[in-house]
Amino acid sequence: MEINPILQNVLAPPVLFFLIGAISVLFKSDLEIPAPLPKLFSLYLLLAIGFKGGIEIQKSGFTDQVLPTLSAAILMSLVIPLIGFLILRYKFDVFNSAAIAAAYGSISAVTFISAESFLESQKIAFDGFMVGALALMESPAIIVGLLLVKFAAPKNRPKSRKMHLSAILHESLLNGSVYLLLSSLIVGFLTASSNPSGIAKMEPFTGQLFYGAECFFLLDMGIVAAQRLPRLKNAGSFLIGFAIFMPLFNAFIGVFVARILSLGPGNALLFVVLCASASYLAVPAAMRMTVPEAKSSYYISTTLGLTFPFNIVLGIPIYMSLVNTIIPLSPL
């Protein structure tokens, strides 16, 4: 693995702003992005990712690669939480294990767009339909997490708190960020099909502004991540190890699946990043409501305090060299 892509990744504005945010916490600067401003950027990014993804999917149509890739993505978001759960059960109870595992099965949209920015700066092509994979991987992981709680821990819960399938589906599909991403994707698709002039009129908002808004949001993410990091100390070294090891492990599975799918290097990286990233939006919000027995500081601090920064700064270039090493190997 060359040092160059890591440095190149770190020297891109989004990553630099992320680091600036993190360093401000380290040095106890009083830089603050007060609520609800970060929410504005998070809503904007979900809307823009979905809208542009919907346009791309409509444009590219359902080619040969689309269906297998999307199916594989869903499969990964079902399998990863199960693996994670088994690992976490060594140390944690059912509730905490299920909640953390669900977060790692799901995805981080900002990690995904950071990978897209990385690919663009490296001039490596990728397909718009990968946003479909992003959108489809959020809900299954939540469902698996809640089913694990339902079946692995039925006795520990008070009767009145029994989870019904309808509640599980509601949490996984109608969670604010899942809903906004999916429905913006549909809006993008419909606009591209029936109202192409609408695309051009949206472009300055969803397109041109995107990179800057990403930087601004990452500035805040840097602050939040650095505030979260020290909390991991209480969580113990097992969880700290998990937060680094699990994305690498998932990336490794992901790259082999990408190879089976014959994805090009760009799509392969995005697929790997989806596997390796962990959710800090949809899943924590769903778990807070449905599995209050789990400590939110566990699933928030690992995903936001360690896995997210790791992926943004080091993970993406590492995964790229993994892709470049594994994919071109002679057929399995």
Binding site: A35, Q227, L281, A282, P284, R288, I300
Partner: protein, 93 residues
């Protein structure tokens, strides 16, 4: 008259308000975006963008009997999801 102060996660707000409405309280006030720390030393921050939200502070001015009526339901919610509830005296102006 009594004053009831409830502090708990914003995400449980709908459930608590349902309990208040069922008891027919004369009114209530909700302040969102409260942060804090509970007995488990977990600090609630205003991480609204994550969907986790912060705490809500609910104030209810009402008669003691209404509080007695709601007590079990509120205790039930708070013990499961976390949060605190305190009563004090209050006189209408």
């Amino acid at each position: 008259m009594k004053r009831l102060d409830l502090i708990f996660s914003e995400r449980e707000l709908d459930a608590i308000i349902k309990t208040l409405e069922k008891a027919n309280v004369p009114g209530y006030t909700v302040m969102k975006h409260a942060t804090g720390r509970g007995p488990e030393r977990v600090v609630t921050e205003d991480m609204e963008f994550t969907g986790l939200g912060a705490n809500a502070h609910v104030i209810v001015f009402c008669e003691q009997e209404l509080i007695d009526k709601m007590r079990d339901n509120i205790r039930d919610d708070l013990s499961y999801y976390g949060g605190v509830a305190y009563i004090s005296e209050a006189t209408p102006l």
